[in-house]
């Protein structure tokens, strides 16, 4: 990128809502908890209520997913939820209502996780402007790599939004460096080669991905994919700056509504304290 790295980096240090939220957790001697919910599942109002419950019960950051017709990185549970949301008529601009609904009631940093085409369709600048207006922290982009992100780099600088790219066990050292450099707020470390979904144990690959991202210069690295209980959270909190839980929360809202999200979040947050910190 030919954009002025120095200027944007400095601006970002002050502006990044995600970084601030992770740093607040760090100041308390713990990793940050990041919870995912798909917008509009089972309704927009429920997503807002569940997001507030997440924040009130220990989540530092919240990811709101945009339901999409072709979610190639998602497993069965999240696919079923987003397919239902779309079938019920979810429209993309409603994600801004969800973000505003949560940020107006809590201090949590709220990011949007989205496949790229809905952003392309609205227009990257327009989407970014509306997200910033709604109080959003930035975007997590599972199918956008920095190589293709020129427009998003410009828009995220313009509106002061975080850009969270993913790194994976398969990322080469060159790609790791490039992705870390392009990211702002934090870097999303994919724990395993696969799609979203609960798994019995945390992949041993996660620790080395986090180490590689730190070595490439990332200040904040959060781990997601397959993290579903307090034990997983405790294990990851030992070496990562944040822990991302998705499918387990989606199953909770599916089976027990907002109350179940609140109690699962409370339970997950017990795993955050670094035992030797």
């Amino acid at each position: 990128m030919s954009t002025s790295q120095d200027g944007t980096q400095n601006a970002a240090q002050h502006a990044s809502k995600s970084a601030a939220a992770i740093d607040r957790a760090r100041a308390q001697g713990r990793a940050a908890l990041i919870g995912y919910l798909p917008a509009g599942y089972p309704s927009v109002a429920d997503t807002i209520a569940a997001g507030i419950a997440l924040a009130e019960n220990g989540a530092d950051l919240i990811e709101i997913g945009i339901p999409y017709s072709d979610p190639v990185m998602d497993g069965q549970v999240i696919q079923a939820a987003t397919t239902e949301a779309l079938a019920k008529g979810f429209r993309v601009p409603e994600v801004f209502d969800v973000v505003r609904g949560i940020t107006s009631k809590t201090d949590a940093a709220v990011l949007v996780m989205t496949y790229w085409n809905p952003v392309v369709r609205m227009g990257v600048d327009e989407f970014s402007r509306r997200l910033a207006e709604a109080g959003g922290a930035g975007l997590i982009t599972p199918d956008l790599i920095p190589d293709e992100a020129a427009e998003w780099m410009a828009a995220s600088d313009k509106y002061g939004l975080d850009r969270v790219f993913l790194v994976a066990p398969s990322s080469s050292p060159e790609r790791m460096k490039r992705t870390v450099d392009a990211s702002r707020g934090f870097v999303y470390a994919v724990s395993i080669m696969g799609v979203t979904g609960a798994r019995a144990s945390v992949s041993s690959a996660a620790k080395s991905v986090v180490a590689a991202a730190h070595a490439a210069g990332a200040e904040r690295v959060c781990v997601g994919l397959g993290v579903s209980n307090a034990g997983h959270v405790r294990e990851i909190a030992e070496y990562a700056d944040g822990v991302i839980v998705g499918t387990a929360l989606v199953a909770a809202i599916r089976d027990g509504g907002v109350d179940a999200v609140a109690s699962l979040t409370k339970d997950l947050s017990t795993g955050l304290t670094k035992e030797e910190a």
Binding site: M1, Q76, W116, N117, V119, D143, I145, M193
Partner: protein, 454 residues
């Protein structure tokens, strides 16, 4: 393998083209002819299209594939292997057959059929699967996965896997499995495992989604054998490379048989692999008009069609930026066509580029038009075409009539080549249903809803 950002469409120097692209507009009619060569475009970008809109987890595998492909192309042993398989396994070169009685219905121009239907497995698909399966072996992968709609690419993939001793898993929409139970059996006879996909709309695009999910989880030992010239780089350029033989043969054959280049070349377009294969031979021949015929389904005005370039807008799906059937939210719209092979809401990125610069003209053909051309070829030439290819035949009738209208006296000197991309054995039940040839209590009539692809 790290690609420079300046290659990215939004960072390119051609601001107006980028603006037009982003707004879903189309650039001005081009000057096309006389410019730099359009052949052998390497990717990752074709104008503002193509690229890699893919999860980071798969980038290393795409890099490995690109690297292996580039080295293989430069390796005489590999190109000799391909040439040998094409000749002694697939049966290439495929014939170029003049269709004299059919041509009487196309304004009286001369029509030549490029007979990809005569290849082993019955379509052009074999060209690509053999090439990719060889690359899988070169990468040390022991397993290939593929998506399929009606089953043609699945059968071809299972064939290549059997020949080369690879494990093969084919993802296929659950509805397609039901309607194409004989093709499921063919794949299983060839040793493949067919997995019905019940997610989303349960169609070809969902089969691709499921194959991508498998690939992310098993990329260490698995190659994704994508069936069309779409997807993330290097797939569009690589799939085209394996199909370029169609255009090379056709060009040499028409020169041999008629002493000159054709006036027009016609092909059907779903993802666009047979089309890009034959087009490639003629892209730099300024005098040759090139036409791609999309599936117009029940008519583009009905919304039930697969005319991606005609009516779609640029977007990203399955790894590439290209024209796409999508709603105002960027959600993919389900496509409809009597031809399962054309029933895809996206299109290969090189076609989007060729459309924008005006080198290729893309037009829709309805189900009815295609089926009339299907019947006509059966009865005038004794060739049952794939319904996909029937779209190209219907388009060629229109092109022939236009050429004749331009200069009626010279119609018999005009030459049109049609890529007959596949044979129609697989489509007999669909055609029988369409033309109402089935007994009411036949098993086929029981399975099929009115006009349904079988």
């Amino acid at each position: 393998m790290v690609r420079l950002m300046v290659d990215a469409p939004a960072a390119g120097s051609d601001e107006s083209a980028v603006d037009a692209f982003l707004q879903g507009g189309r650039p001005q009619e081009p000057t096309a002819q006389g410019g730099p060569s359009l052949r052998h475009a390497p990717g990752p970008y074709f104008g503002g299209y193509g690229g890699r809109w893919m999860p980071e987890s798969l980038i290393a595998a795409l890099d490995e594939l690109e690297d292996t492909f580039e080295k293989a192309k430069a390796d005489p042993e590999f190109t000799a292997q391909i040439a040998d398989l094409n000749k002694n396994y697939s049966g290439r070169p495929s014939l170029l057959t003049e269709a004299k009685r059919f041509a009487e219905h196309a304004g009286g121009v001369r029509i030549f059929l490029k007979r990809e239907d005569l290849n082993h497995t019955g379509s052009h698909k074999i060209n690509n699967v053999l090439g990719q399966a060889l690359l899988a072996k070169r990468m040390g992968k022991t397993r290939v996965i593929a998506e399929t709609g009606a089953g043609q690419h699945g059968v071809a993939s299972a064939t290549a896997a059997a020949l080369l001793g690879l494990e093969c898993v084919v993802y296929m929409g659950a509805e397609d499995c039901r309607r194409q139970s004989l093709n499921v059996a063919r794949m299983e006879l060839l040793g493949a495992t067919v997995i019905p996909v019940t997610n989303g709309s349960q169609t070809l695009k969902d089969a691709i989604n499921e194959a991508l999910r498998d690939w992310v989880a098993n990329v260490g030992n698995t190659h994704y054998l994508l069936g069309t010239a779409a997807g993330a780089h290097p797939f569009p350029a690589m799939v085209r490379y394996f199909h370029e033989v169609i255009g090379e043969e056709a060009r040499a054959q028409i020169l041999d048989q008629t002493g000159r280049l054709p006036d027009a070349v016609c092909a059907c377009i779903g993802g666009g692999s047979n089309a890009i294969g034959i087009f490639h031979g003629f892209l730099d021949d300024a005098s040759v008009k090139i036409y791609g015929f999309e599936a117009g389904g029940e008519g583009v005005e009905t919304g039930r069609h697969a005319a991606t370039i005609t009516l779609g807008k640029p977007g990203v799906l399955h790894g590439a930026r290209s024209y796409l059937m999508q709603d105002d939210d960027g959600q993919t719209i389900e496509s409809h066509s009597i031809s399962a092979g054309l029933d895809y809401p996206g299109v290969g990125p090189e076609h989007s580029y060729l459309a924008d610069i005006g080198r290729v003209r893309y037009e829709p053909i309805t189900d009815s038009e295609a089926m009339e051309a299907f019947r006509l070829l059966c009865r005038t030439e004794g060739i049952i075409p794939a319904i996909e290819s029937a779209h190209a035949l219907a388009g060629a009738i229109k092109v022939g009539q236009r050429l004749a209208a331009e200069d009626a006296g010279a119609a018999s000197e005009k030459i049109v080549i049609v890529n007959l991309s596949g044979r129609g054995d697989k489509d007999v039940a669909t055609a029988a249903e369409w033309f109402d040839l089935l007994d009411e209590d036949s098993p086929e009539a029981e399975i099929a809803k009115e006009g349904e692809q079988l």
